[in-house]
Symmetry: C2
Subunit: 110 residues, 2 copies
């Protein structure tokens, strides 16, 4: 597990990117997918994820559909057109940041 402070500011971008690649997803599914992609290193906490999803929805970046699976509820999130263009920006920004940090730290990413 990574030092949590490093994650700050990256949550939105991670969520948007995963949604872009997988289309329609629900909250719990996102946490599991990120866990998998990061090899258990990024464990999104619910206290961070759900407020973030709600915020993105309120801003028109995501839209939702609720489904009942048995008696259990699932809330699916999808990128809106506005969301799709935001993903590109955010990913580009974080990519650039990663490259900058790599330079500063003189990291060799084999």
């Amino acid at each position: 597990m990574h030092s949590p402070e490093l994650l700050k500011g990256t949550l939105q971008t991670i969520v948007l990117k995963v949604l872009k690649d997988h289309g329609r997803m629900y909250g719990y599914e996102i946490t599991q997918r990120v866990k998998e992609l990061s090899d258990e290193r990024i464990l999104l906490t619910e206290g961070a994820l759900y407020p973030a999803l709600h915020k993105l929805e309120a801003e028109g970046i995501l839209k939702t559909e609720t489904e009942n699976i048995g008696k259990r509820i699932r809330k699916y999130y999808t990128l809106t057109p506005q969301g799709k263009s935001l993903v590109k920006e955010r990913v580009a920004e974080l990519t650039d940041f990663i490259k900058t940090m790599s330079n500063v730290l003189q990291v060799k990413l084999a």
Copy 2:
């Protein structure tokens, strides 16, 4: 300039790494060096840097010497032995984080 939230949690590591590579440095010099290394993208603010330096000093990670250059004061910071081992940890941690993020975002770092 990068979105400031991304920097959160990386400041200490950046400072420690720069100090490791350059030895004895003062605050203003650190901001300039990081600015240069990051191609103007990381501009450390004084409100973040000085408290961070003071904290690291209080923790025994850095030690200081004050010099007078004319009538102007310079406070030089150097890594303590404890600080040197911390740098390795922190850089390793941030490097690992960068790699993880690269995987999650499927970034190609040429």
